[in-house]
Symmetry: C2
Subunit: 195 residues, 2 copies
Amino acid sequence: MEKPQRSPRERMVYEAAQAMREDGVGGAALRTVATRAAAPRGSLQHYFPGGKDQLVTEALEWSGEFAAAQVRAYLRDTRRPSPSGMFNDLVRQWAAELEDRQFARGCPVAASVVDTANANPQVRAAAAAALATWQKPLRSGLRTMGVRPARAAALATLMLAALEGSLVLARAERDTHALRVVSRELAPLLDAALP
Amino acid sequence: MEKPQRSPRERMVYEAAQAMREDGVGGAALRTVATRAAAPRGSLQHYFPGGKDQLVTEALEWSGEFAAAQVRAYLRDTRRPSPSGMFNDLVRQWAAELEDRQFARGCPVAASVVDTANANPQVRAAAAAALATWQKPLRSGLRTMGVRPARAAALATLMLAALEGSLVLARAERDTHALRVVSRELAPLLDAALP
């Protein structure tokens, strides 16, 4: 995830997402977010009167949109998109990111679910919304390739589940092996859904 | 995961795992763990001189062994074990647990990775060890069924990744749909590895 040139408010949302990716929602300290965003003191309260929940919720919205945009970029820029190509593009970008940053940053959605699904319905709902945002272009991409609707929905779910899980394995193992295995194993299954 | 009848020390390890499953490692308060384990004051320091890291590490060891025992029970008790049957048994137990507890408790290994992979090498290594413990009976079960070794290792990785990821989706969505989809989609792929 490249650091965008944005307003202080947008920088705070971006840095909140990055902090969640590193240390979970509990570990994402507001002070660190403000410092990294080079935001003036008091601006967190100013921009996010709903406090940390609001910031985390917006960070999840941002993350869902960012992930969806990556999928749309694949669909737009690829001459012959395929189900396995679309999944592998996701896996490849995540593997590169993990290696570039020594496995420091995982998925902010997974982080928020693990830390808040039990006790924070607002953040939990934002995580579900981010996953839905991410799944949308996967599903519509598959449909455009000719996969029938019900199967496209199922395969989009499978892709996200396999990706989220292999990120957990890869960060635990400090090795992108699991991502590569999952991408290779799922490729024939995904492409077999084509008409 | 049933509550076992055990020593105070074992109860603390068990309750630490449950607290991590609910609120992540950051949210798992030592005070809560001690209270739930009905452990006398001071016993945390007594049994776990290495503090929270030691408790979390032992909770991950316990979790890996618990998960591996579930797989071994399937292999022992099933007349005709199959790759899809083994995976579906895992998925079924997790789905039942999620529904019984209103999605309050996820996987403690995923929780520890999300919260500590960046900043706590000891806990991160314990998470990797727990995943290895869990994968072992999956891999050896597949080999006993006739799957060749390299493929058995790959499919065990795929199973854990798909399970971990679909738990994230299910808790976000408060719905076991993702677990059912993943189990159904992977079944033919898993069984096609049989000789």
